[in-house]
Symmetry: C2
Subunit: 348 residues, 2 copies
DNA sequence: CCAACTTAGTAAACGTGTTTAAAAAGTTAG
DNA sequence: CTAACTTTTTAAACACGTTTACTAAGTTGG
C-alpha cells in the first residue's frame, strides 16, 4: 500500500536534492562525475546544473586538467545561496548559530532564555535573525524535552511549552521548513554525521546531568523515540537490589560538574551491558566532560564481566555541545537540501 | 548522496508491486479506486491492469452496481498466479508450507531435519516442491541462528551452516527471490503483520527456551540486528548481584516444556523494565506456551515497581509457531510482490 | 423516451528523463 | 602539424506517466 511517487515536481525535487547533497559533500564535481555517482543521465544532470548555475546556486570554478580528452567544467556549491539557523533552548539562555551549507558559522550568539517567557519571545529572536539574513532557508530547534513529529511532549520544568506544535507554529509563520528535536537525539545525530557512520548504524549517546541521566539512541539509522517518548530514560534501568540507575548514580554523592566518579563504574557497566544485549550498538558515546579515557577503559573492563568482549560496543567520548549543535545543523541542512528550487520563487 | 530511481523498469516494477499489494490487501478493486489510492493516473492504472489481466495475474469479477453513472469493472488478484514457500529448519525436523498470496496454505508438511545433514539435503527438499508447484515464485527460510543480509552467522550447534550465504546460494540455483531470517525475528514480523501494527511500531517478542532465552526486536518498523548480530541475546542482561537473566531463569530449576514459573516473575519484570527504558515498545509478546494471562498480570504488576505505569508496554501472549510461519509468509510475499512481471518471462 | 447529468474508460497531446548520434575540445604519436 | 584517439557537451529521437479532451454507459426527471 505504498505510494509510488511519479509526479514530475517530486522527481525534480529529488534530483535537485541529490545534486546539492553530492556537491556539498564532495566540495565540487563535474557534470560527468555527478551523472555517474547519482545514476542519472548526463543530459539531465547538465540541464539541472546549468539551471542551478543561472539561479546562482552553483558556481563554475574553472576547467579540470585534461584526462586525455576535452577538459571538463567543474562546479561548486555557492555557500551564500542558503543559510540555516540552529536554536537551542536552555534553562539560562537561548543559544543560536547561523551557518551556511558547509557548516561554517556566520554568526553565533546567546540570547535571554525563552523557556520561562514563552514562544512569543522565541519568535521575536528568530524573526530578528531572519530579517538580518534574508537567505535563511531553514530552522532547527533543540529542546530539553521529548519531541514527536515537531510537537513537544514532556518537558520537565517548562510546562508552558508542553504539547506545543512548535514545528507547525514556525513553519506557518516563517514559511521555511522547521525541524524540532530533543537535545540528546540531536547530539547522537550530530555524532553520527561527524563520524560518518554507516546509514544503518546503531549508536547511543549517554549523558549524566544534574537533572538525571538520559540517552539519545539511534538504531538502524533512525532515532528511537518509543511508544510514549520514554526511550532513553535510563535513570529507570534496574540495578542491584531495588535500586535503579538514577539512584545508583546519586548514591555516594554524584557529580556537580565533576567527572563521573569511579565508584559508579559498575552501574555504568551494567547499563552498557543492557544496551549491548538489546541494541548491540557499534559505539556508545560519553560526554568528555563526564568521562575521560581512563574511566572508559575501566567501564569497558567491568562490562566484560557481563557481556562477551567481541560484542561490546566501542566506548568513546566526545564534546557534547559540539555534537548537539552539529545534529541541529544536520537536521537543518537536510531540510534545506530537499527544498524545491521552483516552488516559492518570489525574489528575482 | 541518495540515488534517485528514475529508470523506467524500476518505476514499472514499483507500480506493479503497488497494484498487487493493494489488490491483495483489499481483496478486489476497480481501476478508479486503484488510481485514487495509489495516486497514479487512471490511464496508467488502466494500462497495467489490462496487461496483468491478459497475463492471467488479475481476473475481472464483473461490474459494480452503478453509482450514478457507467458501471465500473472490478478486478481481483488470481491466487493461483504465484505461490510462496516457507521453510523452517529445526533440530528434529524441517517444516514447510506452500501458500498463495492470500496466505492460504496449499500444502504443509514435515521433512527430515537438514541441520545435521547440510545444505544439499535442503536443496533437494526445496527442488522437489518447486517441481510439484511450478508457479512457486519465492522462498523464505527460517533458521535458529543469526542472519545478516542472507548470510548465516552464529548458529549454535550447527557448525556446518555457519558463515553460509544461504540467500545467494538458493537465488542462484532456483532463480527466484529468497529471504532468510532468524526465527525470533520472523516471529516478530509475523506478529506485527497479524496485529496490523503501524509502520513505525516497536515490538519485542520474548522466548524462554531450553537453549536459553532470546528476543526478536522490531524498532521503528525494522528488525534490530545490531553491530555483531547480538541484539536479543537477553540471557546476558545483568540482574541482581552478579547473576544475569539466563542464570536467574535457571536458578530454582527452570521449565522443561512447563509454563514459565512464577518465581521468575521478578527477573522478567526487570527485563521488561530494561526494554521499556531503552526501546519503550508498544507491546512485549510472550509465547502462550510459556506464560498465561495470570502470569502476565503478575509480571506487569512487578514491572510497575521499576517503571512508571504509563510507559509500560502492553504485555500480551501469542502462538509462537503461527507467528513464526506468518513472518516467513510475510517475507516471502513481499519478495513475490516486488518482482518484475517482465524480467524473466520464459513461459508463454 | 429524451434531455441533462454522472461516472468509467479511451485516445491524443504534453512533459520530462533516457538513449543514441553527432559535435566540440583536447591529447598524443609520428 | 596532422591523423587517430579520448573525453565532454549538445542535439535529436525515444519512452513512459500525466493531463486533457473525448467517447461510452448508465441514471433521473419531465
Amino acid at each position: 500500500m505504498s505510494e509510488p511517487r511519479t509526479d514530475p515536481s517530486e522527481i525534480r525535487r529529488t534530483i535537485t536534492a541529490a545534486i546539492r547533497s553530492s556537491l556539498i559533500a564532495k566540495g565540487h564535481a563535474t557534470k560527468a562525475e555527478l551523472s555517474r555517482s547519482l545514476s542519472l543521465s548526463f543530459p539531465t544532470i547538465s540541464k539541472f546544473v546549468s539551471l542551478m548555475e543561472k539561479e546562482g546556486e552553483l558556481r563554475s570554478i574553472g576547467l579540470d586538467d585534461s584526462s586525455g580528452g576535452r577538459r571538463a567544467g567543474r562546479y561548486a556549491y555557492n555557500p551564500d545561496f542558503m543559510l540555516g539557523l540552529a536554536v537551542y533552548l536552555e534553562k539560562e539562555e537561548t543559544r543560536y548559530s547561523v551557518f551556511d551549507c558547509m557548516g561554517e558559522a556566520r554568526e553565533e550568539g546567546i540570547a535571554p532564555s525563552v523557556l520561562t517567557e514563552g514562544i512569543g519571545a522565541l519568535q521575536l529572536q528568530v524573526e530578528e535573525l531572519m530579517a538580518k539574513y534574508p537567505r535563511m532557508r531553514s530552522l532547527a530547534i533543540g529542546v530539553p524535552g521529548s519531541v514527536k513529529n515537531g510537537k513537544i511532549g514532556y518537558i520537565p520544568g517548562y510546562g508552558r511549552y508542553e504539547g506545543l506544535e512548535l514545528k507547525a507554529y514556525f513553519e506557518e509563520r516563517l514559511q521555511i521548513p522547521v525541524r524540532v528535536e530533543n537535545d540528546m537525539n540531536a547530539a547522537v545525530l550530530g555524532f553520527a554525521a561527524k563520524a560518518d557512520e554507516a546509514e544503518s548504524a546503531s549508536l547511543v549517546y549517554l549523558y549524566f546531568g544534574n537533572n538525571g541521566p538520559g540517552a539519545g539512541i539511534m538504531a538502524n539509522g533512525t532515532i528511537l523515540r518509543g511508544n510514549t517518548s520514554f526511550s532513553g530514560e535510563i535513570s529507570f534501568v534496574p540495578m542491584d537490589g531495588q535500586r535503579n540507575f538514577g539512584q545508583a548514580l546519586q548514591e555516594r554523592g554524584f557529580l556537580d560538574g565533576r567527572t563521573l566518579d569511579e565508584v559508579h563504574v559498575d552501574a555504568v557497566a551494567r547499563l552498557v551491558a543492557a544496551f549491548t544485549v538489546i541494541l548491540n550498538p557499534k559505539r556508545i558515546v560519553f560526554c568528555d566532560s563526564e568521562a575521560d579515557e581512563a574511566l572508559l577503559e575501566r567501564i569497558g573492563q567491568r562490562s566484560r564481566s557481563y557481556v562477551p568482549l567481541e560484542h561490546l560496543p566501542e566506548l568513546v567520548h566526545s564534546h557534547w555541545p559540539s555534537d548537539y549543535l552539529g545534529g541541529l545543523k544536520t537536521l537543518s541542512l537536510e531540510a534545506m537540501i530537499s527544498q524545491d528550487l521552483f516552488s516559492s520563487r518570489t525574489e528575482g
